[in-house]
Subunit: 140 residues, 2 copies
DNA sequence: TGCAATTATATTGTGTGCAATATAAAAAAT
DNA sequence: ATTTTTTATATTGCACACAATATAATTGCA
């Protein structure tokens, strides 16, 4: 009878360890452009569509204001994004890229390929992880 | 030409989001026995082999003393583990389960099955994630 | 033996994550 | 038009992660 409380039999531990490990592999590359991994994710959202509300960013990254507000303030301090209260709806804060934020995309462009090479991961493996993640995350 | 800086094309983001999501699904169950997810992982290591050093635990969970020392102190305060300096080698701190820590295993026993059911994940999917994780993590 | 290098843990500081709560604005209901 | 409810963001508090550094004990080597 398999012991489900053994680490080797866990579902989440490999995900948790792998996710931290890959973020570590990103670090040297992200250090060069002065970003943390979550900050890089936020910028990826903005590079795809500039000017989004805190809510929209949080919805895409599954992060709440408790995480995003201080993160966005740090990006604002680094002059990478602007935070502006909407005049139409005063509750909303709109986040947009500065020129520096826009330029960062060029410097970040090479990072994903480098990672894939360093990790020696195949496209099938990436797709496999993504399809499992999509299935579970969409249950929400 | 696929934009590798799009969130949809990321390798790590699904892992990062899925790992956080699953830890959230654990929360209500772990709340009942007063543990966080990383604390639960430490206990799983100790349930399998009682009395291990901080180093041994850290090696299995890929966590360093900066994370483990305060976490273990919290487990000690809750009287779930003991922390004792080895008399043979004064640098080493040995972590062992208290009776309360041993008893917790019974209460935790049902958690993994519940999670697998709630997530509606198959054994193939679990194995697939684990084999990819093992491959990348063993490169270290 | 004596001293340099290594090892094990602890500490400090920064940046997440996230629950719980607060605040203020907008929308809905009466 | 008020009141109630909902919505968007911010704040607080706690627990990780992890880099960098510190400290003390042990090992290895000249």
């Amino acid at each position: 009878m398999k012991d489900l409380l053994k680490l080797d039999n866990q579902l989440c531990f490999p995900l948790y360890a792998l996710s931290r490990e890959i973020i570590q592999r990103y670090r040297p590359h992200l250090d060069e452009i002065g970003l943390t991994y979550p900050q890089y994710l936020v910028l990826m959202v903005l590079w795809e569509n500039d000017k989004q509300t805190v809510n929209q960013i949080g919805h895409k990254l599954l992060l709440d204001s408790g995480t995003l507000t201080p993160l966005l303030k740090r990006l604002e301090q680094k002059q990478i994004v602007l935070r502006q209260r909407s005049t139409v709806d005063e509750r909303v804060v709109e986040i947009s890229l500065t020129n520096m934020g826009i330029d960062l995309k060029k410097k970040a462009k090479c990072i994903p390929e480098k990672l894939i090479q360093e990790l020696e991961i195949t496209q099938e493996e990436i797709d496999s992880i993504r399809s499992i993640a999509d299935k579970i995350l969409k249950l929400k």
